[in-house]
Amino acid sequence: MNNYEFKIRGEQLLLLPEKGIYWKKKDLIIISDLHLGKAGHFRKHGIPVSGRIHFTDLKILESLLKSYKPKQVILLGDLFHSIKNKEWDDFLRFIEIFDIVRFTLVRGNHDVFEEYPKELELVESLDMSPFNFTHQKEVSELYNISGHVHPGFRVRGMAREGLTLPCFYFSGDHAVMPAFGQFTGIKKIKPREGDKIFGIADDNVMELI
């Protein structure tokens, strides 16, 4: 496992190959776009997708919580894919087990429940200087960090070789997180001059540009 230490706005961020960020100073982990419940939603509509895929999601999150022992987890939106189904109960059990961790959900376009349990703090956006957290990219005086896009980047080699990798994207005034969930796709992004992109290859986070 190779993390990547990246400094932005004076803050030291650890980019994790599990597709999360560990913010050491605040002792918190940020992940985005879990899309839990998507398998169940598909099943309800007659498309048989195994629910085990979301166990994998939770297992990876569990391993992060165990190795970094953060005080807080910021879920950067699209935690749950659809209206409630049984897979929501699995997540409730999960946050019950980790009750010493504070879970904060920054609401995404998929987060449509009328009520959320009190163990899960719900906000529309979150300011923690020097950062402003939202699900979709927003203009802010602070440095905006968002998800939503599920960014990926294509790298090409000389012998017509190509690889598309999920990535972290950092530009001058905002950043985009890769999607954490297993049942998600990738949207290729086109960086501009001066942007930074970190790709996830196997167990490593590597600087691509």
């Binding site: 309800k44 509509h45 498309i47 048989p48 997708v49 017509r160 690889l163």
Partner: protein
């Protein structure tokens, strides 16, 4: 008594001052004796009258003429909507002439809801229908009553359906109607000549019918002459490419001196490009030149077809959308742009001209690049020898089966054992195992697993032994998804001021920005915006713009034609250049000999060459693109076990290329027997897994089985949260549901290549009997060049870690940055 009714047909012919062909009379008689069968007759031979007339005669024989009941008596299945209208007219006219009060209805995807309602209330006596619309009919709850009085099913253009999933859908529908009519229905097919007619008959009629059925041949032969359009100077002619507009100044005079020309291209984009190019070269053709392809609005297509009939057009640029069916009498010239890839297809197209008896059909072949000229000579030989490709039927398509079972569940439900018995009588599912059948049932009821991880699954319920769908929305969604043709999601193209032009694929439009212009249906259009699955455009005066790309449609070279091409190369190798085509490209072939060799039938040529891109290997098995795709990944996989390496794979119909940024140890690999049949299946499986081939097949399989909902232009159904691209689903199934038979089917479809099952094995056997010659060349040879520049379907296969590949690629990038 039977004799009397045949008399009616004879006197109708007499009144028209025609004379029935013997094959027509034979078909009438066989039909009236209650037989089923296959009629082998080409388009334009009077095949419609051969089978439509006895349907009406049978009615006249068994009923009083005025006893017309609102019951469907005849189903006439046709593969193309465009043909349906003409057939309907011909059929209706015959009834009207005889004063039989039959109503011939039309049922395709274009039929309006009002018309459908009318057909439901009062059934027409004959229904011209596509396979898809027949399945939609079966998804309606009262279908058993609607279809149980059918006397016969006629499947037109069966050669187009056999070997496709639409053919399988036809087999299934027939199996159901047989049972509904208590096995009284007669089944007839009409097929152009293909290499496996007896098998075609068996597949259509089913295991329970085919042995007693008859075969009738029309023996209407057409004389076809093939002329290649040759470039003036072969040195200037491109070595690669597929547009062919380089020969425009030779093609236009052919159009000008002809009455009416059909100019066939291989793809819809090529049609758009050629239409523009011809008009630019000969502006005076404006108004008498039109285009025709499957993505254009059907009203516009209908207008073109009518104008063709009436002799108002001098030229129509078209795709296979004008391949089939009705004859356009004024057509006297046919031009084929680019290799048609198969002899049968070429003959069919050639047959579109010269309809008067005894008249020769002439077809001009226009090559798009140098080597394609060999195809021209090969085609002429095959035509002269009267050779036709086989169309191999598909077997055990679980995706089509699943769709069919859900269709039956929608329309009131089905009892599994009853349906199993029916489908076991079809050719496609005759070897279906109990395990496979049970898996399909499980898949639609519980999601395919008994482990309980599929809770909340809702699709088909087992209610007292009857499998049915309860949820209305699920039923509705299924009805909209019926069909086996999978394309990229299509968006309709409309003027902002109103007026529908046709459809383009989403992947094309997503590349455009508002204000960009593109060519479509012969017009330059400015893209404004997308609204509700509709692309809004306005007319543009610009002379430039992009041309839409449509997926699919690129066919691989048939093995028959590949064989002919090898014959021609063998002659060239021995210095014989008798054909004008080979003579024309003599300088290029001599260059090939000088830099490398021309392989004969006993030789497999491999060329090794280094360029700034890396190290290339070119293999030339001449087996067609599909075989090369599998063969290339097999070879790449086996070599990737010898060294840590990443390959980029490319192919065309003549050969394939492996490209790597490092030295490829080919000499060593050849010593270890690269083409060995040992562990073959395992290695092929592994190589398919390591590329995206199976994943690509899975897209179609998953869509047909109802796992991917495509959405429909104009039909606003919100399924956004249910959309996952097939790549994600494929990986999810691979990881979490390894016994999923749809994944298995996708793998099988790669291996059996959908079309010609045993071709891969034959190819390997051939290679193993050949002498392998490895040539190192200084530059890519004329054979290598078209593969090298091809951008089609590049595929990577690697035995390296992603991290290692990434580090390497970044080093390369830095190097190239430092060099500049």
């Amino acid at each position: 008594m039977a004799k009397d009714v045949v008399q009616i047909a004879n006197s109708w012919f007499k009144k028209k001052k025609w004379k029935p062909f013997p094959f027509q009379v034979n078909t009438w008689k066989a039909y009236l004796e209650g037989k089923s069968g296959l009629l082998n007759a080409p388009t334009g031979s009077g095949k419609t009258y051969a089978l439509w007339i006895p349907c009406v005669l049978e009615f006249l024989r068994d009923n009083e003429p005025h006893e017309v009941r609102p019951e469907v008596q005849v189903l006439w299945i046709t593969p193309l909507r465009a043909l349906a209208k003409d057939i309907q007219n011909a059929m209706q006219n015959f009834c009207d002439d005889l004063d039989v009060r039959w109503n011939v209805g039309l049922r395709t995807g274009d039929t309006t809801t009002t018309e459908r309602q009318k057909q439901k209330k009062s059934a027409p006596q004959a229904l011209v229908i596509t396979p898809e619309s027949l399945h939609v009919l079966i998804s309606q709850s009262d279908y058993p009553n609607y279809l149980k009085n059918i006397k016969s099913i006629i499947v037109d253009e069966w050669h187009e359906l056999i070997g496709t999933k639409r053919g399988v859908a036809t087999e299934l529908a027939i199996s159901r109607i047989k049972k509904l009519t208590e096995y009284k229905v007669k089944i007839w097919g009409i097929s152009a000549t293909i290499g496996n007619l007896p098998q075609a008959k068996r597949v259509l009629l089913g295991e329970d019918y085919y042995k007693k059925a008859v075969s009738i041949h029309s023996n209407v032969e057409k004389d076809i002459s093939v002329e290649s359009v040759l470039p003036e100077d072969i040195v200037d002619f491109p070595w690669a490419g597929h547009l062919g507009t380089k020969l425009l100044d030779k093609v236009v005079p052919i159009i000008e001196k002809s009455e009416t020309t059909l100019l066939f291209t291989n793809t819809r984009s090529q049609t758009e490009l050629w239409y523009q190019a011809v008009l630019k070269q000969a502006p005076d053709l404006a108004g008498v030149i039109a285009m025709h392809h499957g993505s254009m609005d059907q009203n516009i297509r209908g207008w073109v077809e009518d104008a063709l009939h009436e002799g108002k057009l001098k030229c129509v640029v078209c795709t296979s959308s004008l391949d089939l069916g009705v004859d356009f009498r004024p057509v006297d010239t046919v031009i084929q742009i680019g290799g048609p890839k198969g002899v049968s297809r070429f003959q069919q197209r050639a047959g579109r001209s010269g309809h008067r008896p005894g008249e020769k059909s002439k077809i001009y072949f226009v090559p798009t690049h140098t080597l394609e000229l060999i195809e021209g000579a090969a085609l002429r030989d095959a035509v002269a020898a009267g050779k036709f490709e086989q169309r191999k039927p598909l077997e055990k398509c679980l995706d089509v089966l699943i769709q069919y079972l859900v269709t039956l569940a929608v329309s009131g439900g089905f009892r599994p054992l009853e349906i199993l018995e029916e489908i076991k009588a079809t050719y496609c599912y005759r070897l279906l195992t109990a395990t496979e059948w049970n898996w399909a049932l499980e898949f639609i009821t519980t999601g395919g697993s008994t482990l309980g991880e599929y809770d909340e699954f809702a699709k088909v319920y087992n209610e007292d032994g009857i499998y049915k769908i309860i949820n209305n929305r699920a039923a509705q969604r299924h009805k909209l998804s019926i069909g086996t043709i999978v394309g990229d999601p299509a968006l309709s193209v409309k003027f902002i001021s109103g007026g529908h032009l046709g459809t383009v694929e989403e992947s094309f439009i997503s590349r455009l920005n508002p204000g960009d212009t593109f060519w479509f249906a012969g017009q330059n259009l400015q893209f404004s915006r997308i609204k509700d699955m509709t692309v809004l455009v306005r007319k543009s005066k610009k002379k430039s713009g992009l041309t839409p790309q449509w997926g699919g449609g690129r066919l691989p070279l048939s093995s028959l034609l590949a064989d002919q091409i090898r014959n021609k190369l063998e002659l060239a190798k021995n210095g014989i250049f008798d054909d004008v085509e080979l003579n024309a490209i003599k300088p290029i072939l001599e260059l090939q000999s000088k830099w490398s060799i021309i392989p004969d039938k006993r030789t497999l040529l491999i060329e090794k060459v280094e360029t700034e891109m890396g190290n290339h290997l070119f293999f030339y098995p001449f087996q067609g693109m599909f075989v090369h795709e599998v063969l290339a990944s097999l070879v790449a996989y086996r070599m990737s076990k010898l060294q840590k390496i990443t390959f980029s794979i490319s192919m065309n119909d003549y050969g394939f290329e492996l490209l790597s940024d490092q030295e490829i140890a080919i000499e060593e690999a050849l010593e270890l027997d690269l083409f060995s049949e040992e562990n073959l299946m395992e290695d092929i499986n592994e190589s398919i897994n390591k590329t995206e081939m199976a994943q690509r097949k899975f897209r179609d399989v998953a869509t047909i089985a109802g796992l991917i909902f495509q959405g429909y232009p104009g039909k606003n159904i919100n399924a956004k949260h249910l959309q996952a691209n097939s790549g994600i689903l494929f990986r999810v199934f691979q990881t979490y549901d390894e016994n999923n038979l749809l994944i298995r089917q996708s793998m099988d479809e790669v291996m059996t290549l959908q079309l010609e099952q045993s071709r891969l094995m034959e190819a390997l056997r051939q290679i193993n009997s050949q002498e392998i010659i490895l040539k190192e060349t200084a530059k890519p040879t004329p054979f290598a060049f078209p593969i090298l520049v091809s951008v089609l379907r590049r595929e990577n296969l690697s035995s390296e870690q992603i991290t290692d590949r990434l580090i390497k690629m970044q080093l390369q990038l830095e190097q190239s940055l430092n060099e500049t």
